[in-house]
Amino acid sequence: MHAVAEAMTGRPDSFPLPERRAQGSAAGAAQERVAWPPGDLAIWIFILAELAVFAIFFAAYAFARMGELELFVTYQQTLDTNLALINTLALITSSYFVVRAVGRIRADDAGGCIRWLAGALLLGGVFLGVKSLEYAHLFGEGVSLSTNTFYTFYLSLTFFHFMHVVMGMVILAAVAVKAAQGHYSREVHTGVETGASYWHMVDLVWLILFPLVYVM
């Protein structure tokens, strides 16, 4: 708590980014480290709070599984791992696109930033579509929240995450619109980094969720 409090106290309202490496150059160039993660600090507080919710959710899944091991192992096999694979790749790649979008705006290339964001949004759409297919299939089989503990968790966890994908896409779309209106540049692009950080969080959570619920 102290670290957080201190962090919240000391941070200037907006801070000039240290000179980032030149766009496109190789990494590893020695450079100064900064005290703050990219984007608005408020989004990081929110990300931490959200991650806390997911951490508790994951732990609850694992302990519920402990109580009904056979049931979890059995019903896990009814899930479609191939669709989950597509979705994982979609989120990872979309996260990567967002990294590129941030790189473009740091190079003062708003057009490139928008194109990468559009790609990321498209992949977010793929994720939502594939997930909806999965839900449609399961609901078609008569599965519901009350079917058993495994499905309670599967549906709750993935739907909670689904809503975060939606939320993340709304944020990315807003960032893209602002970029198109010319609000961002090499000097001023905290908004892009803020949206990017949230989107990476959505990706990060799925990277744990995927093996936990589908494979392990």
């Binding site: 409090a5 600090l41 919710v53």
Partner: protein
């Protein structure tokens, strides 16, 4: 000094709030005594009536406080006079008279008779905890709420729109909309309870948190001079977390009322995180004070603002978490642990936020420049500590009573009957009553603080030491 003349309508609301607060505490003391002397004041004021008055007065005076807060801060935020001060005063009297008549109804006639007199059979909504008001009173509340929202909404529409006033408005609209579920009273008991919580839970663990966040943000902007943008960012994060955890967290009331089992998971997981927004509010308050750009002469208001963060986190957050997980709640449900949580949560979050805004606004409403005299503030700060510390003790004693109760009555291999256990935890009830008396003394001091030091000059603030360029 008031920036806008129409802010003055907040004054009667605040005075009424404090008056009803006193009534609430007196009935609380009666109730506390009835726990150990069952026939105290029987048959004039039976336990169930005293409890009804204690809880209903709390809600009504907090609503007075919220409305007063809105009437005070919205003109200042919107930078314009209130849409209709006359409507605000009219609604004040309607609400006060309706509230007084309702309480008199509780006290003077048996509840069943009150139901009959007010035509409950035409549209039955009475008889449910916290929503005991006659249907006609409920209609009155809706009318007052609509007029209030219209008044405040029009003011915001015609003036500057700030995050603080918008969050406040969303909270107040939510409050009014959710109250409509008080009129829905299905035959099915499960459904009845299900929607009853939409009023009760989604008020205190949902939209009221927005109201609290907005009032706290307003007071902190004024007291610390920290940039509005910084405070607004915090407000966004806090209310987002409050809504995510609070809305699905409703599930912690759905464990044992006949709803599907998944509510045990949803309720446990999400409500376990309800302390987060309160924790953020505490960090928020202390941080803004650390980063303050000036010292405000109203030190008492600052104390309340910091106090509400801490006490809300303890009472709503920590004490709520204690019994929110389904496997724990299986044993603690409806025990004195619930009462302990209820007391500190309501005091820490909502009583203290209303007292914060009163403390901040009242000096200006009474013609001061920015703050009361030192003498008045010292008395007020004494009342802060007396009330807060005695509330901590009330909570601890009730927690002790609750743990013992759960142990003897539910958890043990050889569970004992309710009344037998009640006798065994009597000592805790006595200690709670003593702490309650001290709370009343604190409250009396609080009232006295409005009357002392009136002729003395205003307190002044020491200027901040020069700020280094790095921090500026």
């Amino acid at each position: 000094m008031l920036q806008y003349k129409s802010q003055a309508v907040a004054k009667p609301y605040f005075i009424a709030a404090i008056a009803l607060f006193i009534g609430q505490i007196l009935f609380g003391l009666i109730l506390g005594l009835q726990y150990v002397m069952g026939d105290f004041l029987f048959p004039e004021i039976p336990f169930n009536v005293a409890r009804m008055v204690h809880t209903n007065l709390l809600i009504v005076w907090l609503l007075f406080g919220f409305m007063g807060a809105a009437y005070y801060l919205v003109p200042e935020e919107a930078e314009t006079e209130l849409h209709s001060p006359g409507l605000a005063i009219l609604m004040f009297w309607i609400f006060l008279i309706a509230g007084a008549l309702t309480v008199l109804g509780y006290l003077l006639v048996p509840y069943a008779r009150l139901a009959e007199l007010t035509g409950n059979h035409l549209w039955p909504t009475m008889g449910r905890e916290f929503l005991e008001q006659p249907t006609i009173t409920k209609v009155g509340i809706v009318v007052v709420a609509l007029a209030f929202l219209y008044n405040v909404g029009m003011t915001i529409l015609k003036g500057r729109k700030t995050v603080v006033s918008l969050v406040l408005l969303i909270g107040l609209v939510g409050l009014a909309v959710l109250f409509l579920f008080a009129f829905y009273n299905p035959e099915n008991l499960v459904k009845d309870k299900f929607y009853w919580w939409w009023v009760v839970h989604l008020w205190v663990e949902g939209v009221w948190e927005l109201i609290m966040g907005a009032i706290l943000a307003f007071v902190l902007i004024k007291l610390t001079g920290v940039d509005r943008e910084v405070i607004e960012k915090w407000l966004y994060v806090i209310i987002a977390m409050a809504l995510i955890t609070g809305i699905i967290g409703t599930g912690h009331h759905y464990f044992w009322i006949g709803t599907p089992e998944y509510w045990q998971w949803w309720g446990s997981i999400f409500s376990a995180l309800e302390p987060l927004p309160f924790f953020m509010m505490t960090v928020f308050a202390f941080n803004m004070v650390n980063r303050r750009r000036r010292n405000h002469p109203n030190k008492a208001a600052m104390l309340w603002a910091l106090g509400t963060g801490v006490m809300a986190f303890l009472g709503a957050g920590v004490w709520g978490f204690l019994h929110t997980l389904a496997p724990v709640n299986y044993y603690t449900h409806g025990s004195q642990i619930t009462a302990a949580h209820g007391h500190m949560a309501f005091y820490g979050a909502y009583v203290m936020i209303v007292l914060t805004i009163i403390s901040y606004a009242m000096p200006m409403l009474r013609g001061r420049e920015a703050a009361n005299s030192n003498r008045s503030q010292v008395v007020e700060m004494w009342s802060f500590w007396l009330m807060t510390v005695s509330m901590v003790f009330i909570t601890l004693f009730l927690t002790g009573a609750g743990i013992l109760q759960v142990w003897l009555q539910r958890y043990s291999d050889d569970p004992q009957p309710f009344m037998v256990v009640q006798e065994k935890i009597e000592l805790f009830y006595w200690m709670r009553e003593v702490a309650g008396v001290i709370f009343l003394i604190g409250l009396v001091l609080y009232v006295i603080s409005f009357f002392v030091g009136q002729r003395q000059p205003e307190a002044s603030a020491k200027p901040l030491p020069a700020v280094s360029p790095a921090e500026a």
